[in-house]
């Protein structure tokens, strides 16, 4: 069990996990995207379920305190049907995408609905399954249009600025893209889901390179769903179908995999177990429980909190977040300690 993943002078050290499967309150329901705020606060988007509609945005802390939740199920303003992405502006207002309703909803930091924008369509500035979204260095929103494989940039008030991308498998094309992020230089990274790679574009849409290709080995991705970039330029691809996070350096060279390390039960998870003696008894009977429990199950989104040098992964099927601290200038201890 690799609680610490070391590559050269970099290390990713598993910190803890937050959450449990829950339809409301202290837990998540298919967490699909996460946005870190100041002071250890996280906004987590839960996809929910068709039979138990519990989509929502949860405001929680890294210390596993539940603050509140908002944006639950429905087509009305302030609600969601296919909640997909979440991002914060500098004032920590919350922006969400809904790939069924084709709109961006905006909430204040307390979860009060402010307004929404967007309309369905294939034209410039229109939405066709908006999924991932991220703010760029100019505080404009770049948003993935998953169904027509485009990336569009808007002001945060919703004014269309520019767009690029065509559907296909060519070098600079996209096929059902999902997650998106930007780096400090304004470059745009897109999880090119159906082409099994991460695509890197300039802010203007020029294709700068690709990371990964289809498969299960080092350097391979299968249906990547999320992407993040840290301050060192390392790229994190949530390798959805391979059940891992693949880490690449800024040149696209594969560095390591994170496969999930949640050997411990989260604080809220522990509440579930303590309330159910049968669960406790059964858990005692399971062999290699730690190994099974620790692993990601189809993780979806991720975010890198550059202020804290911290990676947060949405371990979607397990209803939790797994947190890793990144240590740069890592030095391996002497062997004979």
């Amino acid at each position: 069990m690799a609680i610490e993943t070391v590559v050269g002078n970099r290390a990713w050290i598993y910190s803890h996990n937050i959450g449990r499967n829950a339809a409301a309150g202290t837990g998540f329901s298919m967490p699909i995207a996460v946005a870190p705020a100041k002071d250890g606060v996280l906004f987590v988007a839960s996809r929910g379920s068709d039979t138990n509609p519990n989509q929502r945005v949860s405001k929680v802390t890294l210390d596993q305190e539940f603050i509140h939740e908002f944006g639950r199920v429905g087509e009305e303003q302030g609600n969601h049907v296919f909640l997909t992405g979440v991002a914060l502006d500098r004032d920590e207002n919350v922006y969400t995408t809904d790939e069924w309703l084709n709109r961006v909803s905006v909430f204040d930091n307390a979860g009060n609905f402010l307004h929404s924008w967007g309309e369905a369509g294939e034209g410039e500035g229109q939405f066709s399954g908006p999924s991932g979204l991220a703010f760029d260095k100019d505080e404009n929103l770049v948003i993935v249009n998953s169904l027509n494989s485009r990336v569009q940039t808007f002001t945060k008030e919703g004014k269309f600025l520019s767009g690029f991308g065509t559907k296909g498998s060519g070098e600079d094309e996209l096929d059902m893209p999902w997650g998106i992020t930007t780096d400090d230089d304004g470059n745009i990274f897109v999880a090119d889901w159906n082409n099994h790679r991460i695509q890197k574009f300039s802010a203007g849409g020029a294709h700068l390179g690709s990371i990964g290709h289809g498969g299960a080995g080092p350097g391979n991705l299968r249906h990547p769903s999320g992407v993040a970039v840290d301050g060192d330029g390392d790229v994190y691809a949530v390798d959805w179908m391979n059940q891992r996070v693949a880490i690449f350096n800024s040149d696209g060279m594969p560095l390591a995999f994170l496969r999930g390390d949640a050997v411990e039960v989260s604080k809220w998870g522990q509440m579930s177990i303590e309330a159910n003696p049968d669960m406790q008894r059964r858990r005692r009977q399971v062999s290699n429980l730690d190994e099974q429990q620790a692993r990601f199950r189809m993780p979806v989104g991720c975010a890198f909190d550059r202020a804290a040098n911290r990676l947060i992964v949405c371990d979607s099927q397990r209803g939790r977040l797994q947190i890793y601290d990144k240590e740069t200038n890592y030095a391996d201890p002497q062997a004979n300690l």
Partner: protein, 469 residues
């Protein structure tokens, strides 16, 4: 054969070896040829067999809860129905449905659709392989072990549930073994169990795994079907597959599912097979091939008895739903409300992943009662008359480009688009009488004409010929 006869024969094949096909697909397949199509169906790309292919990925992206639906049957049912509708390898799904009929395992007891879907994956993977391997895999399948209590089958406390159904319902059929054989088979499967799994709280369902516990296995001598030895489970299966009764039982099931409706299984000991000659051909093929299901399916689909067996099988509800939705091209992308496609077969009497008992469903005329018939007809009518659906729009566009005008042409084109159906003269006359009431099609008013076409398609959906496979 004329081109239209080729299309009709291909439509028959695709109804049985899949869930029907649009006219466009039929034209493409006829161009390839009948026997080549059979081979294409029998030999799908390996990538698409069991899991992480496009259909699965697309569904799980938009409806992640269909991956591990737990005890909620609807999401598991929706998952499988979505695959039936969209799989590029329809025979793989059809064969899985066949084995689900025979090796019926239900959520009513298992309360774990994750494991039932895993069992369906096993049917996809091994369903066209050899039957012996399938029985071994079935014996190790966690959902089946729990369903038939083999986890309660211990060296010192034998539980006969699995051993009995293995013989009665999964291989030989009643009256071909004794109560002693049941007991001895059950003893051979002691120790075949499931390992404790991480419970569902707090992180959702974790998978069950097969666990063989030697210390709980009865390794003493057993006498089974005249053979004596220190048998383990696989030895029992080896003996079962050498029994002529097994050949007949499995072939009769296959005939009933793919060729023509038989009497219900409990009557097989007293009622002769519908076509003994065809059954004999199938049994010989299965025996000579070493129980290779693919070899049997190849011979069956290419046989005259199969080609001539049109309209001799009432579609199961799953076939009605999947076939109709394929035809109208609905649900070819996930959207909100997916639970509906999982529930629909249940409204017609077939809750997939949740059969009424280990006997599975009674088929043929048993599918039809006053409630289920209305549900079937209304389901089809609601879809084929919905001119917003792309498949219906294509039918309308085809009719326009073909210059369909008169009521006779309208009826004929509708029958062709719904599977090159050949109606009885009486039904054909009634349909024509209705179509004549509206006169010729007026293509200057496409909306109204589309509605009229939808009405005729809905009437075709209510005919015996559409409701039969």
């Amino acid at each position: 054969m004329s081109h239209k006869e080729d299309l009709a024969q291909m439509a028959h094949l695709m109804r049985r070896a899949g869930f029907g096909a649009t006219r466009e697909e039929l034209e493409r397949r006829v161009a390839v040829g009948y026997e080549s199509t059979v081979e294409e169906l029998l030999n799908p790309p390996e990538d698409d067999l069991a899991g992480p292919a496009g259909t699965f990925a697309m569904l799980t992206r938009y409806h992640p809860n269909t991956l591990l639906p737990g005890g909620v049957p609807t999401l598991g049912q929706s998952s499988w129905m979505y695959h039936m509708i969209n799989s590029p390898n329809p025979l793989v799904e059809k064969v899985a449905l066949f084995w689900h009929h025979v090796f019926s395992t239900g959520n009513s007891k298992v309360d774990n659709c994750d494991q039932l879907l895993e069992q369906v994956d096993m049917f996809r993977k091994f369903g066209m392989g050899d039957y012996r391997t399938m029985l071994v895999e079935l014996s190790k399948n966690p959902a089946m072990i729990y369903w038939l209590d083999n986890n309660e089958n211990h060296r010192d406390a034998v539980n006969e549930n699995w051993g009995r159904e293995l013989l009665e319902l999964f291989s030989m059929g009643v009256s071909n073994y004794t109560e002693v054989d049941v007991r001895e088979a059950s003893r051979a499967f002691t120790g075949w169990t499931i390992a404790p799994k991480i419970p569902r709280l707090p992180y959702g369902r974790f998978p069950w795994k097969f666990d063989y516990r030697e210390e709980d296995h009865d390794d003493t001598e057993k006498t089974f079907l005249g053979h004596t030895g220190n048998f383990n489970g696989e030895d029992i299966i080896d003996i079962i597959v050498r029994e002529p009764a097994t050949l007949r039982f499995i072939c009769r099931h296959l005939y009933n599912f793919f060729v023509a409706d038989e009497v219900q299984v409990p009557a097989w000991t007293i009622e002769p097979a519908r076509d003994e000659e065809a059954l004999g051909t199938m049994m010989n093929t299965l025996e000579e091939s070493g129980y290779d299901m693919k070899a049997l399916l190849r011979v069956m689909f290419n046989s005259d008895f199969f080609k001539e067996a049109t309209y001799s099988k009432i579609k199961s509800p799953a076939e009605v739903v999947a076939g109709t939705l394929r035809l109208v091209e609905d649900w070819n992308m996930p959207r909100p409300g997916i639970k509906d496609i999982g529930l629909q077969p249940g409204y017609m009497g077939q809750s997939i992943l949740d059969p009424p008992s280990v006997e599975g469903w009674y088929t043929g005329p048993e599918w039809i009662n006053s409630g289920s018939l209305l549900a079937r007809i209304n389901f089809v009518a609601d879809r084929v008359a919905d001119t917003s659906l792309s498949g219906v729009q294509k039918i309308i566009a085809d009719m326009k480009s073909e210059g369909v005008s008169t009521p006779g042409e309208l009826v004929q084109a509708s029958l062709e688009h719904m599977g090159f159906l050949e109606l009885s003269p009486e039904t054909q006359e009634q349909l024509l009488g209705h179509a004549k009431g509206g006169g010729n099609l007026d293509w200057s008013n496409e909306a109204a004409t589309g509605t009229r076409i939808g009405e005729v398609l809905a009437l075709v959906g209510a005919t015996t010929e559409y409701q039969f496979g």
